[in-house]
């Protein structure tokens, strides 16, 4: 071999309990090369990189750096080998300046010479074309400046192999371009760079090679100039798998929820929802597909009255044809919405944080929905207790007792408790965000059946999902989000996985969008 690879992974396997996070992954990156690591959520990209940066230890397989086989047991080992990782969540001390963060933990003269350090930082910045004031405090910085500080921190420690975990997720397009400019400079300087991403256009733009992971499996590595987005998408999503989930035909559709031009801005000032419009009908399951962080959470929270909207309207239709009643939910908090007589059930992504109180038992959690009823100063525990018994019996919740804190239950049982409570309030709209995440197969099917039952009762179900196979078999229609925009709504019975995969990663051309 003429070129020694900067880093080489061979047959890496990592398991968490029974879950295989990475199985037989092999990768090679040379100096002066940018490798893009592509895959859907949960495909094991970050796990793999965490093994390089010393956070996890592989179960089997070997890692070689500069042709020598190495063992990486801690972040310190990784630093010593010249591997630097820029995490998605920055590891910076807010009240320190950029320079202070950069030298943190390093050995050297015990007195800090701030001027020398600032000069060294500026030198690195100039070499690669960064813009960073070393004496600025982190809390005064924008997200992209913080990222710059993180990258310089890694370079200052002499890293030759850089790993960037979804660096563009928090950046504006202009900032992304600037970052790519810097990455190209680093590449010219002979650094090996691995960039984790799921944005196809960026892969095509920046990388030399693309390695694709799918559900922990290593698929293949291809040269960027020999591939195209379509091929990469196919590699990423794979072929459709049949799951045999029931999908009863929708009986009678009635307009329930009409979302018009809803836009939201995040705390960082980024646009998280951009003119989202769709209609959810009673009696159908509307799936929402998209890469994590494409605006799914904000969409649910906007409907539930937890998110401030920049613009747009959320119209709730009630009553039968002829006596239609329309209410606007914008600006209402969850309590207002309930007092309007609208029963909206929200099964949030964060079950034990937003959905249930982890330290309370089933009875008390049931009571969260009903404690306001009645005029007495005392709460009525009889009805919630009855409801808890009912949920336990009907949904087969496995628990030592209905007063056992729900945190002691398994994920599937927690979800059953939550969904059971929400369904008991006889909702007309159910929003379920990733309701089967972390659940085993049987529990997942229980959840699907529950949602189908609600659908046949005429409830409008909005199902936020990540597994395309499930979405394609469960949902009547699928709304695809991409970067906070609706890239299209497709029919769940006719759409293909490839079609949705492509819509998830890039906004479709006008003609392709299937409108209702």
């Amino acid at each position: 071999m003429s070129i020694t690879s900067a880093i080489e992974l061979k047959n890496i396997t990592k398991k968490f309990g029974n879950v295989i996070a990475n199985s037989n992954v092999s990768l090679t990156v040379n100096c002066g090369e940018i490798l893009a690591l592509l895959g859907e959520n949960g495909s094991g990209k970050t796990t793999l990189m965490n093994m390089l940066s010393g956070i996890y230890f592989p179960d089997s397989g070997t890692i070689s750096v500069d042709g020598r086989e190495v063992t990486i047991r801690s972040p310190k080992d990784a630093f010593n080998l010249g591997i630097g990782m820029v995490h998605q969540h920055f590891k910076l001390v807010d009240v320190f300046t950029a320079a202070e963060n950069i030298v943190l933990g390093l050995t050297g003269k015990s007195k800090l010479n701030r001027k020398t350090i600032a000069d060294e930082v500026t030198k690195i910045s100039q070499k690669y074309g960064f813009v960073l004031d070393p004496n600025r405090k982190i809390y005064d910085m924008s997200v992209s400046e913080k990222q710059t500080a993180e990258i310089i921190k890694v370079l200052y420690r002499g890293a030759n192999i850089l790993i960037l975990d979804e660096p563009t997720a928090v950046l504006t397009p202009q900032e992304t371009n600037k970052l790519f400019e810097v990455l190209r400079n680093m590449k010219k300087d002979g650094k090996a760079i691995i960039i984790i991403t799921h944005k196809l256009n960026e892969v095509m733009d920046i990388s030399d090679k693309v390695a694709v992971l799918r559900k922990g499996e290593y698929i293949d590595t291809v040269n960027t100039n020999e591939t195209n987005p379509q091929q990469l998408t196919d590699m990423m999503v794979g072929h459709a798998v049949s799951l045999n989930i029931d999908r009863p035909k929708s009986e009678k559709l009635s307009k329930r929820l009409e979302i018009k031009n809803v836009s939201c801005i995040s705390d960082e000032g980024l646009s998280v929802l951009d003119k989202v419009s769709f209609t959810a009908f009673g009696g159908e399951i509307l799936g929402v597909a998209g890469i994590a962080g494409s605006g799914q959470r904000e969409l649910c929270e906007a409907i539930a009255g937890l998110q401030h909207l920049k613009e747009g309207s959320i119209l709730y239709h009630s009553g039968e044809d002829g006596h239609e009643n329309v209410d606007d939910l914008v600006g209402k908090n969850p309590m207002d919405i309930r007092q309007m007589g609208i029963s909206l059930a929200f099964v949030p992504e964060d079950r034990l944080g937003m959905g249930l109180v982890a330290d309370m038992g089933m009875v008390d959690n049931m009571m969260l929905r009903s404690y306001r009823r009645g005029k007495s100063a005392f709460v009525d525990r009889r009805l919630p207790k009855k409801l808890a018994e009912e949920v336990r019996g009907k949904l087969k919740v496995v628990t030592p007792g209905i007063n056992t804190p729900v945190r002691q239950l398994s994920g599937g049982n927690v979800q059953k408790v939550l969904l059971g409570r929400e369904i008991a309030s006889a909702p007309t709209v159910i929003m379920a965000a990733y309701p089967v995440r972390g659940l085993d197969i049987n529990s997942s099917y229980t959840i699907y059946n529950l949602l189908n039952q609600q659908k046949s009762k005429g409830v409008a179900v909005i199902y936020i999902g990540e597994d395309l196979d499930v979405l394609l078999e469960l949902c009547d229609r699928i709304l695809v989000l991409c970067g906070g925009k609706v890239s299209g709504i497709v029919d769940g019975r006719t759409a293909t996985k490839e079609q949705i995969g492509l819509m998830m990663t890039q906004i479709a051309e006008e003609g392709e969008t299937v409108n209702e």
Binding site: P75, K91, L92, V93, D94, V95, F96, V103, L104, K137
Partner: protein, 325 residues
């Protein structure tokens, strides 16, 4: 008039010094992210053990030397306070116990420890109280002999006992270490964001233990000061009487800066001795309330200020688990 002001200033310094010890000791502890509410307890422990050190040294030697006695007292007090903080550290740092509860327990333990051994020593001495000899007493109260004779400047700057200068030196050195050295930077990072500090290779546990134990030792010197200077080397039951709690409030007043702690301790010193020097024609009890009213006002004022710089260490009071990355 100016004479009264000089006298008030001197008295304030003398009254504020034990608070300064407690405050800078707790600042050092809190900079590592540990909130140790046991300052009062550690002061009791330091006070009684420091006194015991001097007392038994005098019993053992025929001609006790003042400076040796002081050194022994300071070392004993420091070690005992550090030991109290070490117990706290084992529980909170290694076993992740609740810091507030552990600190309160340390206060209760230290108070009992101090009063019990003070009593025991008193009974054993045959005089029903324990007191150090005049030599040690003098060593703990005399100023810098030559310089304190200079008019005005002499009494203002050079008339204090050695503990006062020690407290100021600790505050100044600590401030320099925190802001100008790598060790200080690393320590502050541990208190702000231990996960980040850990990721950069800093030994979080070691930093927490060392700063908590040293902080406890410094707090204990405040207790020694109360016993040796305020109470003139005699053990008085419950002598610390809330100074540890005042020191805790002063940490917030000083917004975690050892230099500001000096000014704050002086202000509190003035408030606590004012009734002797500034006749306002109000009942004594009102004067006694001043330091506490000031504490309340300061706590409210500090909480209103939305300045990112003068905030408590971000992870103050939280245990650090490495697995929770």
């Amino acid at each position: 008039m100016s004479e009264i002001i000089i006298k008030l200033f001197i008295a304030a310094i003398l009254a504020g010094t034990p608070l300064l010890f407690g405050t800078v000791g707790e600042i050092l502890t809190e900079k590592s992210g540990n909130l140790n509410l046991g300052v009062e307890g550690m002061m009791f422990m330091g006070g009684v053990v420091g006194l015991a050190g001097s007392y038994y040294y005098e019993q053992l030697v025929i001609n006790p030397v003042g400076w040796v006695s002081i050194t022994i007292a300071i070392i004993c007090a420091f070690l005992c306070g550090a030991f109290g903080a070490f117990i706290y550290g084992v529980l909170t740092i290694s076993f992740h116990a609740n810091q507030n509860v552990t600190g309160l327990a340390l206060t209760i333990f230290g108070t009992g420890f101090g009063n019990f051994f003070g009593e025991v020593m008193g009974n054993a001495s045959g005089a029903s109280y324990v007191a150090v000899s005049a030599t040690t007493k003098l060593a703990f109260s005399k100023g810098i002999s030559g310089l304190s004779a200079i008019p005005v400047v002499g009494p203002l700057l050079f008339s204090y006992n050695v503990m006062v200068y020690l407290a100021i030196a600790i505050a100044v050195i600590m401030s320099w270490i925190l802001s100008h050295t790598r060790v200080g930077l690393n320590l502050r990072a541990v208190g702000e964001n231990p996960a980040t500090a850990d990721a950069t290779g800093i030994n979080v546990t070691r930093y927490k233990y060392i700063s908590t134990c040293m902080g406890g030792g410094i707090c204990a010197l405040g207790g020694l000061y109360i016993v040796m200077v305020t109470c003139s080397g005699v053990w008085v039951n419950n002598c610390i009487s809330g100074y540890g709690w005042l020191a805790l409030a002063l940490v917030i007043f000083a917004t975690w800066s050892p230099l500001r702690a000096m000014i704050c301790a002086l202000v509190f010193g003035v408030l606590s001795v004012m009734r002797l020097y500034v006749p306002l024609g109000i009942p004594m009890q009102i004067y006694d309330i001043f330091p506490y009213i000031a504490t309340v006002i300061v706590l409210v004022a500090v909480s209103f200020k939305k300045n990112r710089e003068n905030q408590p260490p971000a992870s103050l009071g939280n245990a650090f688990f490495r697995e929770e990355r």
